[in-house]
Symmetry: C2
Subunit: 421 residues, 2 copies
Amino acid sequence: MKDQDLRELVVEIAKKAKEASFKLAKLSSEEKNAVLRKVAQKLRERKEELKRINAQEVEEALAQGQSKAFIDRLSLSDKVIEGMAKGLEEVAALPDPVGEIVKMWKRPNGLLVGKMRIPLGVIAIIYESRPNVTMDAAGLCFKSGNSTILRGGKEALKSNLALGEIFRETLKEFNFPPEAVQVLPTPDRRAMEYLLELEDYIDLVIPRGGEGLIRFVTEKSKIPVIKHYKGVCHVYVDEEADLEMAKTIAINAKCQRPGVCNAMETLLVHEKIAPIFLPQIAEEYKKYEVELRGCSETLKYLPWAKRATEEDWYAEYLDLILAVKVVRDLDEAIAHISKYGSNHTEAIVTQNYYKALRFLKEVDASLVLVNASTRFNDGGELGLGAEIGISTTKIHAYGPMGLEELTTTKFIAFGNGQIRT
Amino acid sequence: MKDQDLRELVVEIAKKAKEASFKLAKLSSEEKNAVLRKVAQKLRERKEELKRINAQEVEEALAQGQSKAFIDRLSLSDKVIEGMAKGLEEVAALPDPVGEIVKMWKRPNGLLVGKMRIPLGVIAIIYESRPNVTMDAAGLCFKSGNSTILRGGKEALKSNLALGEIFRETLKEFNFPPEAVQVLPTPDRRAMEYLLELEDYIDLVIPRGGEGLIRFVTEKSKIPVIKHYKGVCHVYVDEEADLEMAKTIAINAKCQRPGVCNAMETLLVHEKIAPIFLPQIAEEYKKYEVELRGCSETLKYLPWAKRATEEDWYAEYLDLILAVKVVRDLDEAIAHISKYGSNHTEAIVTQNYYKALRFLKEVDASLVLVNASTRFNDGGELGLGAEIGISTTKIHAYGPMGLEELTTTKFIAFGNGQIRT
């Protein structure tokens, strides 16, 4: 397609998304929930058709020699489709943030001032070849009253278009604007670039995926971007830790699901307890076949472990590999996290009240925990309901983004003739 | 200066600002307030020196033929300096948002989860030749625990540097990092461009000034930008308005201070009351020498008024000029605001409960008022204390930005050994 035509196509999509967003903002919670439940029902009814379309794409990806992990993420199995349908029903069951009065106060002149939650408008989601993200993202954005423009990886384009079509069809049946959910119909990278320029129509861009994708989007976008970067998460085991608890948390944080962003990547251990704790925890890690990479102090107690290099402290392994460092005290632990951490999730295990509070206050991460596993950094686990991702950007939302984080607040004021003097 | 050297200079400034921000985040409210009060005291003590430096710049600006308004904004008079000092003392007296626990809840597994307010980190302020902004912005950012990098208009560079120096000197006396407040020491536009690329060191950019400046910053910045665009504000006088109240509000919104962003620019009047209301309000506007530009319907009642063109509906006059349009009903009023408004401040005057609520809900602006003047869209007037500006961006903050809006929240969790299963 010619540059000019492609640009016009993208502008048209964004314009229509904006127009649809005005109507979306006025829908009642009941109307939105009915749509979400109907889309879930249709997903189940059209399962075979979706699987057929997806199977073609999986075949092409296999022919291209894509990795097993890639194929896993691309595939729409019965389980994945049921997961999307259930996800939409769960979002329907969550409270609607739109219209909520966050707070209200009275001014000396009698003016009642408050803040009311409203949708952001149009949200663009840029992601990899994971069709389930299409439905999850569209569902959350719709419930929070926002139009969505979805741009997934090119290998999943047909699956994404088919999923989008189900949502759009349902919207039409309800007489709501189908342009509330649009899948960018071309894999052309230029189309994404044009999209990222349309600050007058799109209010927020959320890139989800690898660092390369996120850097690209940040670089090109004139629209505000909320990043979901990597998680280099630490657990610091203090000298005053309950060592049994520390072991349970350190195993859970590393081994319960190593491939996700809130898994621990580096274990920090106070030098006073290192001689006892390290051999014990190392025994446990052996059972899970975790490869340990230690600092020179660690190697004193675990001579068989690999030696960690500078790069290991920055690494997000997403695998059964763990960097281990012995630190002098809480100060060194906090300094290490500040230097090598990624502002994602950080935990301390201690029985000392003051150290717990200092760690909570001084560590800069989207979630800081005392005596609990890093794996809790998740919208569901923290009680937000479903999430669209975990922001490591401090602007607008820091941490898991649920429905509330997809809204903003406007000021409202009830007067009885007040003027400014 | 060579490109490379200039870039290094800017990177160095941003890096130091980031380092300083870690220390700033730990200061107590008392420490921060003491600094602010000391800077205020020094501003008064060094008044003559500041005025001398500023007088040179005013002279140069006059020689360049700058407008009276420009010179006004550039000038550091006794009154402006006292205003800055008082402003800092007022900020010192405001509650410190840092460390505040916004909310806290308990999860079924016993984990106590909450949100704690923390500084954003480093904030860059890009503004025009108004030295008072230097102190106001630095004071608000400092109190909220953020480092500031200030880049004002080149005509005010020496004044800004002198003001920045007073802040830095004070920080040194308290043994706090002086890099918490830095004025970009060069008027070179390239330096600003380099600054806007440093997303790893700078967390937020706030441009304050004309549309050109804001577009430029948005275009160039890889860092999140919160815009403070123009205000095309409306007052809609409904057929069920108390006409005396409507008159008072319409006069106040237009005439109390016409040169500011929350002044009314277009008056919308319901057709049923137009024949009575328009001649009455026109009489009042005559006293203030307001030029009226009306739609054809308006001209029926005010035949002497100018005819409004399409451009008038978009205009931010910032002057004693007012566009006037007669509308059929509330729907047309809302549609007009949606098309021509700038999401800044919108008001309805009505005695009808349902229309009031509909206007509040459906109008998309950073402040929507019922029966009160648009002039209340101001941090002080709404009860936030001092403000750094009024955001018309929906991301992060929408409306006046006070101390709270210069912070973010991180999640915190108190556990007693919780792991994820």
